[in-house]
Each structure stands twice: as C-alpha cells, then as structure tokens.
Amino acid sequence: MIQPGFVLAASFGYLVLLVAVAAHGDRRAGQGRSLIDSSLVYALSWGVYCSAWTYFGSIGRAALGGVWFLPIYLGPMLAMLLAWLVLRKMVRIARSYRITSIADFIASRYGKSPLLAALVTLITVVGILPYIALQLKAVSAGYEALTGGQGQSDMAWWRDGTLYMALSLAGFAVVFGTRHLDLSERHEGMVAAIAFESAVKLAAFLAVGVFVTYGLFAGMGDIWARAQAQPDIANLLRLDGLGFEGFQGAQWFALTLLSMLSVLMLPRQFQMMVVECVDERHILRAAWLFPAYLLLINIFVLPIAIGGMLMMGDAGAGAESYVLTLPLSQGAAWLALLAYIGGLSAATGMIIVETVAVSTMVCNDLVMPALLRSGRFAQAGGDLTRLLLNIRRAAILLVLLLGYLYFRVAGEAYALVSIGLISFAAVAQFAPALLGGMYWRGATRAGALGGLIGGSLVWAYTLMLPSVARSGWIGADFLDGPFGLTFLAPQRLFGLSGFDELTHSLFWSLLVNIALYVGLSLIGRASAREASQALLFVDVFERGQAQPVFWRGRARPEDLRRLAGRFLGAARAEALFRDHARETGTALDSLTADARLVDRVERQIAGAIGTASARVMVESVSQEEPLSLDDVLEIIDEASQVRVYARELEEATIELRAANEKLKSLDQLKDDFMSSVTHELRTPLTSIRALTELMLDTPDIESAQRDEFLGIILSESERLSRLVNQVLDLAKIEAGVAEWHTTRVDMKALIAAALRATAELFREHGTEVALDLPERVPMVLADPDRLTQVLVNLLSNAAKFVPKGRGRVQIVLLRQGDELVVKVRDNGPGVAPGDQATVFEKFRQGGDACNRPPGTGLGLPISRQIVVNLGGRMWLESRPGQGACFAFSLPLQGQGRSR
C-alpha cells in the first residue's frame, strides 16, 4: 500500500509536468518552431486512442477471454492501411472548408444542415459521456487499489478526489483547448501534451510488463508453461475462450469492424487526426507508426493477465488492476506508482481531447444555433469572440461534470469493457454518412438524417437500454420484450438469436442506418446546396485553386465586414479583407461583395462557429438568390472553364518564368564578366600602384631593387594594355561591330606568317616545331589578319605550355570533306578533363596561377569567336599526359559571314 498523500502528490506533480509540456508546445508554436510538426509526434498524439480502457480494461478482458482483447486493436491496423486514402481526404476536406469537428464535417457535406450537426452532437454526447465516466472510474479505482482505500465513491461528493481531478482536467482543457477562437488553428500545446502522455503510458505499461514477465517469471515461455498446468487458463488462448460454443466468428468480425470505424469516428480521434494535422504528408508515416504503437502497448497484455491469474488466483474484476496490484504485491511500490501514473496519463489524455472536441460541437452546433435563433444576438452588433470562447469553456466544464455525475450515479453498474464498446457502437453510426459522403455524390441530407436517426435509435434500444435495465433502473422484464412482445426483445430482435448483444446491436443498427441512408438518398432529390457540397467533398482532390463558389446574390461589403468582426475579432476581419483586396488587386474600400468574398468570409466564420451556423449568419446579411440544380451545374461548368484557363495561364507563367530565369542568368553572366574584367584589371594596377608608392616612399631604395620594381611595373603595364585591347576586341566581335576584310586566303601562307611571328618564342625555349602540310590546299574565304591572330594565339599558347628544352609542337593542315582543318598539337601537360569544357570561357586560364605562363585568359575565347564568325568551329582534343591539340575548321565553299 502507498500513502494516499503520496499518490495525490505524484498525480498532482504529473499534471504540473503536463502543463509545462503544453506551455512549452504553445511557446514553440509562437516562435514558429512547431513541436508537433513531425510524423512521430503526430502518430503519438493518435495514441490517445488507448484510454484507461486499454490500460486497465485490456488485461481484464484478456483474463476473461484470452485473445479476445485483440480485435479492438486489429481494427485500427486495418483502418490505418487505408489512412493514406481515407484520412488524407478527410484532412484535405477539413482544411479546405475549415471544418473543426465530426458534426461539422457531416453537416457541411449534406448542405450545411444545422439539424444534422445538432443530431450528430447529441449522439456524441450521449455516446461519449459514459466513456468519460469510465475514465474517471478507472482513475478512482486505480487510486483505491494503490492506497488500499475502500469505497471512495461512498464519500460525500465534496470529499471525493475524483471530482477535483475532473475539475483540474477541465482547467487544463480550458487553458490549452480554447486558446484561439478559430478552431481550425491548431492547439499545439495540447497536442504536444497528449503525445507526451502517449509516451508515458507506453513506457509505464512496458515497465510493468517487463517486471511481470522477466521479474516475477522467467519470460513469456515460463508463464505459459505454468499456465498449462491449469486447464481453465490453458483454454483461454483458444478462440472459443469466451465460453461460447465454437468460434464466434461473427463477434470477432464485428469487433474488428467496430474498432476500425471508431478509430476514425471517435471525436478525440477526429480531433487529433484531422483537426490537429499539421501537414497531410505526415499521415504516410504516422499510418504505420500508430499501429506499431498499438502493437507495443499490447505485447505484454497476455503475460500480465495470465501471470496475474497465476499469482493472484482470481480472474474477476480484479484483473483490471493487475498492472497496479501485481507490482504492489511484490513490494515494488515505485513501479506500482509509475503504473498508476501511466493509467492516469491514459485517462487524462482521453478526457482532455474528448472534452475539447465535444465542447466544440456543443458550442457550435447546439448553443450557437439557439442563440442565433433567439434574435437578440443575430441583431446586435458587438464582438462575440469573447462570448464564444466562454461558451466553449463552459461546455468543457459541463461535459466533465456530466461525466462525473454519470460516474457517481452509474459508475458501479458496468464493467469497464462494456462501457467502451457501447460508446464505440454509438460513434460507428457516423460511418455511413461520413464515409459515404466522401465518395458518393448522390447521398442526400434526408438519407444521412434517416440513417443517423434510425441507426442510433436501434443502438439505444438494443445496446444502451439493456445495459440500463441491467443496472435495475428499468424493469428487467424489458429484456424479454416491451409489453410482452417477445419479437421486440432488445437483444433478440425479430427472434435473431445466437449473437452476443454487441454483434446483435451492431448488425441491426448499421443495417437500419445504411438501408435508410442509401434508400432515402436514392428516392429523394438533393437540393442545390447539397449537390454543390457533395461536389466540393467528393472531388476535393480534383480542384486546385479554382474551386467553384456556389453563391449568387447581393451583399454589402460593410455588412460582411461587420459580421466577420463579430466572430473573428476586428483585427482578423481587417486582415481578411485586406488579403482579399490584395489577392484580387482591388483597393480595400472599393471591394465588391462578390461570390468569392462572401465565400471567403463564410469559411473564416465557419472556422469559429461551424459551417452550419456560419451559413445562417451569412444568409442573414445578404439577399441570396436560391440556386437551382441547373445553376449548380452551370457554376461547375464555369469552374472547369476557369480551370482550363488557369492551366493555360499556369503554362504561360512557367514559360515566362523560364524566360525570366534565362534573362537573369544572362545578366548574371554579364555581371560575372564585368566582375572578372575588373578583377583582371585591378591585379596589374595593384602591383603598379603599390610598387610606385613604395619607391616614392623609400628614397634610399637599392638600385637593384628599384630596377626589379621598374621591370615589374613595365610588364604589368604591358599586361594591362594587352588586356584592354583584348577586352575591346572581344566586345567588338561579340557585339558584331568588328570590321571584317574577307578575301581568298591561302592557309599555308598564313601558317608560315604566324610561325615567323612566334619563331622567337619557340627558339627561346628550344622548342621543336614540326609541319604536316599537304602539297596543295584550296583557298578559303576569310579575313587574313583575324585568322593570323587565331594562329598566333594557338601557337603562343602551345609555346607557353610545352616543357622547356624538349618541347614539340606540330601543326597539321588537312582537308576533311568540305572543310579545311588546322590542328596545333603540343606535348605539354594537356588539359585536365574537368577543365576541358571551360577552356574557351573568358578568364579561364589553364594551370594554377604560379606555374601559369602570363596571359589574359581571353586569347582562346577571342580565337573561337573569330572562327565562329568565319563560319567554322574550334575545339579541343586532349587527353591528360598526352598534350593538348587545339583545332579549328573553316568551310571551303562557305562564305565567311562577312559583315
């Protein structure tokens, strides 16, 4: 046993830690460094699926029925296989139309029906309250097990710790769950705290599992070996373990299907998966991380359950607290406390998210419509944002207090497991309307209403009332059929027996639900608004930016603005209109209330008060023309036209952008060129200026030193003038203003002339020059001076790079087809493969700076430019180590492009 004060202090400490995590999450969000923008955190937040029902109840169920605890987790696995298809679509729809709850989702799909929204909210509240009570009960029971206290619930309510626990959770949910008015903004702190809770409960459960399996026993094999000695336990791990005759395949299937639907339909799952989704790409990873989380948290359920039965020898309700009592019985008080904190985190996580989700629905879909209808609010001006937030806060408190009340009144009546399944079956009623609405355009509001009402009535009659009857609040003879009508017996409707009550109820309720949903949809006709919403939902992936807006009528911008101000606050309304003005390119005060603006305002308001209420409000400030089905089709037609235009526009934009990029890169090239020229000019200037200044400032400079400096100054000046000439030359050629004197030219004579000009260079370094010229070559049309310039450049390049003393340069002239080719080959180091592509670019000199012979880095670009201007080509043939061979060709017939 642990001292109650100690347990209370630990629980309180844990809640404080939770507040700290949430506050940190909100702070990070405020700094723009979201904590929850990760698929791992996203997946952990889905772990809110594992409530106290999992934490304590699974073991109880395993102790009774062996593997029968598993379908509840296999269903989510199957659902997650389709998450990328289904959940992503839900997220995209919710994001696009600012949908913030499951009631809103269904109502919006079927023509923004306030009635549907209210109905879904009502079903949720009725279905979920027992579930919240269950969490409180679990925490309270855990506390009793831990402290050895008895009958807490016998205490006066004001001495009951569970009440204060519920109140502090309400406080947490109020602080972190109602931060912004706009519900489509995420509750970053809350999500961070929930992800943290998921990690805590997993760690605590695994710790207990390891303790039981490897501390109390010698591994799972040992537990099983000992269990086999006891036939009742040994039989547990067979499919007929629940004591039915034969395998209840239908029940197994029903449980799998039920949990598969619930994992998407439970308000807390919808909140975490859809509303709080940061980035729909996270779904891809979270979809397998989440089932992996479920697998981990379930892996020790059977060992703990069987181990507990072996050690404690009872398989009754006591099994539900094995995680606490097993460590406690072995004196591991710390572990028991940790396990309790784990259970606390499972319960609190569920309660917080569920109350925030349910309070949103209650506020937007029950309270708001009533307020708006009362007229007083509809007329009055005034900012309603504060009122809205307060309604939501009150709803959170109310839901939790109702849950507590339920716990006090009915808490002892049920086992944990049955309550959870009743809630699951309730929310499963949403599945046909929600999933069908995402894929079937023909589904109508009448069908959805009929299906939901029919299904939930059957659920209440076949599942809810019998459990109430068993608590003794209505006569037990009700179970044999009201008024003695046995064919109406709630658990054997029309004599259908042989099923357990859950399967029976699920079968009938979903049958009625789907039959009415499909049947009424097929019989009736959708209104224009239903049809338009159907298209917006089903085809949400089909439309890019060009979404059709189904609205016609007249409205005044100032009315819209006042409306937006009331629900969004003046600042956000102002920003909304400013954005719209900017995007449409109109001045703020000349905005007209066209369909796009109306739609935009309506969506923003929907984020605050729900789509159905937003619709009512927008209707109240504008004169709308009712749309017919034909109008809807026409609007869609227009929208697809717009889409075609948009696509064309997009293509044109892409081309434009490419052209712009090209211009920019040309600009960049020019800029680079100027920068290089500047660099090349500044370098010799630097030496000249520095040396001149030094000589001036050092009157007693030695004469040898002075001569060296003067020599450098002279050569740098030459370099400078050469550079200036070449830059001008190149600029002239490139700009096409150079003068060309084209005549018939004998290439052999030009080569001889070029050799004479460079003879001194070759002789100086002892380089050998070989000629390989044919006897006769045809004349070409070219500018002889320019061509000589090219040849001299190539020859002096070769002379610079050959090794001193043993250099060899070969000049080859040959006719190839209708071209005359000149090659200048040397035995220098050649050009590295990496540099070959750039040797003809400006200022790309070969070799490193120190070993590089002097040059401006413009010779080759100029030569190539000349050859190209004469209608030829210039290229490089080089393999490193074998020297370089620069070659150019000139057309024989071709006329040099003389200018």
């Binding site: 920068s675 500047t678 660099h679 500044r682 370098t683 010799p684 200037l685 630097t686 030496s687 000249i688 200026r689 520095a690 040396l691 200044e693 030094l694 400032d697 050092t698 030193q705 060296e708 400096f709 450098i712 740098e716 490193d848 700076a849 120190c850």
Partner: protein, 121 residues
C-alpha cells in the same frame, strides 16, 4: 620581438610589393601561394596577421578565413582580406567569414600599412 605576417596571394608581383613593404616596416614575412598552403602555414605556426587574397586557386580566401575562425586555437590570428572584387556582396561575405578588415585592390600602401599597424596594435 617582431610580429610575423603571412602573405597569401597567388599573384607573384603583388607578393613582391607586399613583402617589400612589410620587411621595410620590420615585420617577419611568410608567403603562401595558395589557400591550402596558407591554411597549413597558419595552423603549423600561427602568424599575428594574415594578408589574405580572396581569389586564390585551391581554396579561396573566404574559405581559409572561415576555417581559421572555426578553429578556437587560432583566435589570436588577425585577418585582413584583400580582394580585387569590390562588390558589396564580396565585402559582406568577407566580413561574414570573420575577417578583421577588408581592403580592395588596388590599394594604397600608405593606407594599408596604417590598417596593418592598427590591427597589430
């Protein structure tokens, strides 16, 4: 004790003028013809000051400067960047890399020596 100054520049004629100027002022002069050698020399025997050319083969001056600044053992080394590119972005980049001063070519030796004295004061 004379201060050691490293000249890292790939233009031999500029090295000639800089080393003459520094020797005249009484500094001990080391020369590195490219960025990699400059970094080696700075690491093996840290000088008081490096006159660092921005555009060098192998490893450019900005990278050398960043490498020196990333090494806490070399925090005492002052760096004066020399560059022939006077664009604003180059200056910003040099300062961003952690240079102590930035001088564009062509420079005045008189002004340069004042800057050097300031840096070594």
């Amino acid at each position: 004790m004379t201060d050691k100054v490293l000249i890292a520049d790939d233009e031999p004629n500029i090295v000639v003028s800089l080393s003459f100027m520094l020797k005249r002022e009484g500094y001990e002069v080391l020369v590195a013809p490219d960025g990699l050698q400059a970094l080696d020399m700075i690491r093996s025997d840290p000088p008081r000051l490096v006159l660092l050319d921005a555009a060098m083969p192998g490893m450019n001056g900005f990278d050398v400067c960043e490498a020196v600044r990333a090494d806490p053992g070399l925090s005492g080394v002052r760096i004066l960047m020399l560059t022939a590119k006077g664009r604003e972005t180059d200056i910003a980049r040099g300062m961003g890399a952690g240079a102590d001063a930035y001088v564009t070519k062509p420079f005045s030796t008189r002004e340069l020596i004042v800057r050097i004295r300031e840096l070594l004061a």
